[in-house]
């Protein structure tokens, strides 16, 4: 605590000390309660002035009922038409669990109810991205400065173990007037998917090699292991000078029956001060967690090859007490990506994961999830100096270190 905040505390305490609670307050409260409970109830009988005339209320209700029937009819008609339209129905990111929106003041919710989903644009579902070409979204994504490039998907390929598809995507940025994208003319990424992609497929982080004269970026998906949940596409600048190692691109995506839904976000700047979500500026929160590794947790829901490492972290004033990190056991030895998961911590959720970079330190990311206004906010990003895996997986030590100050 700084001297200044100490002073604020001290002065506020002095102000509060000037309050002089009445010694008869309890009696006053009781009296108020009594007054409230003894309020007389008056039964009011409404007389119909003219029994012969049909009541106006009935007429009103009939009109309302007729209007309702009309609305329902039109709705049904639209639904039928939409079904006939190849099922191209806008999907939205619906939280898996909902709680009543009208929280009582006493109810300290276990989770903060997500706000209405942000406006999203529909992109082709993931199965279609596994195959052939991808059509442009119906509506251009609302983004300032950065637009998804014209993408052509390469041919599918099957990895030797027949477990994964490799899809190569070549994208060209439509606008290159925003740093650092002006230095990235195009990128190519290779993605590994479950050949029978299904909701909840857990896919290792996919490195992307972006090629350009002066820089490229690494990117990949961070997948949620839960069905119909989110995936994150993250891009980390590589070889782009001052943006080296920066998270420069994040998009969120959820997968439901109707296909993928994406909302785009991007970040530029050393302090991530211009992180944007759906084209709207949001405030990046800098949190420097003090992490303490607490062990490996068995998690039946996780990928069988995934070990769940719990890192208890303290984030002063960050609203998050702890977050968990998933690491794939086998990949952990080679700095592979960990999956990520929702973690409930003091009303906030964090999804976190590790992004390996070629020849460089691994980047650890934590992204707010299910927190309404904070949705998608990059809560924590830190380069890990070392991730050391020693001995048996159950005794793995994960060291998370802040990058050296420049």
């Amino acid at each position: 605590m700084s001297k200044f905040t100490e002073r604020v505390e001290h002065d506020l305490s002095q102000i509060a000390d000037r309050a002089t609670p009445s010694s008869t307050a309890w009696e006053s409260i009781q009296q108020r309660i009594a007054e409230q409970t003894t309020q007389p109830t008056v039964e009011v009988i409404m007389l119909n002035p003219d029994q012969k005339k049909p009541p106006t209320v009935s007429r009103t209700w009939m009109a309302v009922a007729a209007a309702l029937i009309l609305v329902v009819g039109i709705g049904a008609l639209i639904a039928v038409l939409n079904q006939d339209d190849g099922g191209e129905i806008d999907t939205v990111d619906i939280p898996e669990e909902t709680v009543p929106l009208s929280l009582e003041a006493d109810e300290e919710p276990d989770v903060i109810v997500p706000d209405e989903p942000d406006e999203v644009a529909v992109i082709p579902d993931d199965e279609s991205t596994n195959s052939a070409a991808v059509a442009e979204p119906e509506e251009p994504l609302e983004m300032t400065g950065f637009a998804v490039g014209d993408c052509n998907f390469g041919a599918e390929d099957t990895t030797p173990d027949d477990l994964n598809y490799t899809t190569t995507q070549s994208c060209k940025f439509r606008e290159n007037n925003v740093v650092p994208f002006e230095t990235i003319q195009q990128y190519v990424f290779t993605r590994y998917d479950d050949p029978e992609f299904h909701d909840g497929s857990t896919v290792p982080f996919t490195p992307i090699t972006g090629l350009s004269d002066s820089g490229f970026m690494y990117a990949g998906y961070m997948w949620d292991g839960q069905p119909s949940a989110h995936a994150r596409f993250v891009g980390v600048a590589e070889g782009v000078g001052p943006y080296e190692g920066e998270l420069i691109y994040v998009s969120g995506r959820s997968f439901g029956d109707e296909g993928g839904v994406v909302h785009m976000q991007w970040a530029v700047g050393e302090e991530l001060s211009s992180l944007r979500i759906n084209g709207t500026d949001v405030e990046a929160v800098e949190v420097t967690p003090d992490c303490e590794f607490t062990g490996v947790v068995e998690d039946d829901d996780a990928d069988p090859q995934t070990e769940h490492y719990t890192s208890q972290c303290t984030a002063p004033d960050g609203g998050v007490d702890s977050f968990d990190i998933f690491l794939f056991g086998p990949e952990a030895n080679t700095l592979g990506i960990g999956s990520h998961r929702y973690v409930v911590a003091t009303g906030s959720m964090v999804r976190s994961g590790l992004v390996p970079r070629s020849g460089g330190p691994t980047l650890s990311l934590a992204i707010m999830e299910g927190t309404g206004e904070d949705e998608g906010l990059l809560l924590h990003q830190l380069s890990t100096g070392t991730i050391t895996v020693e001995g048996d997986i159950s005794e793995t030590v994960v060291q998370v270190a802040l990058p050296p100050a420049e």
């Binding site: 505390e9 002065d11 000037r18 108020r32 006493d106």
Partner: protein, 161 residues
């Protein structure tokens, strides 16, 4: 035959006990908190007592009367501050007997927007963490943190120059 007597605690009696316990634990602290926000003892007491009446009325429905009370008090203080600002920008007098430093703080605090003021008071007087403040004020955590940062920045700027 001796009639069997069964003693029970009626819900009304339970309510009264709960409320009285709540009063004993929270009343003084809530008045101080409200006073720090609205700067007027009578108004602070009135708002807190009002909140107790509301708690009493809804005791059947609420699980955590203490948390509910805090939210109710802060919400009433916020409404009061807002009303006050709307009504000809009337500013409360600094509470009498303040040391000059506290007086100065009060002056700056009073010029902060309600949300920032509430966040700062809850944090640095109430000792609540940002996530708790978010819960008390029913505000997203990031918004609360933003209120805190901005409020504190204004205080620092005004008080340190």
């Amino acid at each position: 035959m001796m009639e069997q007597v069964r003693t029970t605690t009626t819900p009304v009696a339970e309510h009264a006990e709960t409320l009285e316990r709540l009063y004993q634990v929270e009343y003084v602290g809530m008045v101080r908190l409200a006073f720090t926000l609205v700067g007027n003892n009578a108004e602070a007491e009135d708002l807190v007592q009002d909140s107790f009446v509301e708690v009493s009325r809804r005791l059947d429905e609420i699980r955590k009367p203490g948390a509910y009370l805090r939210s109710a008090v802060v919400s009433r203080c916020k409404s009061s501050l807002r009303r006050r600002r709307v009504m000809e920008h009337h500013r409360p007098e600094p509470p009498a007997g303040l040391a000059s430093d506290a007086d100065e703080l009060w002056d700056v605090l009073d010029r902060l927007p309600e949300d920032q003021r509430i966040a700062v008071v809850l944090r640095y007087y109430g000792g609540y963490r940002a996530s708790e403040i978010a819960s008390i004020t029913d505000t997203p955590a990031a918004t609360t943190r933003s209120h805190l940062r901005r409020g504190l920045a204004t205080l620092r700027k005004e008080l340190e120059t």
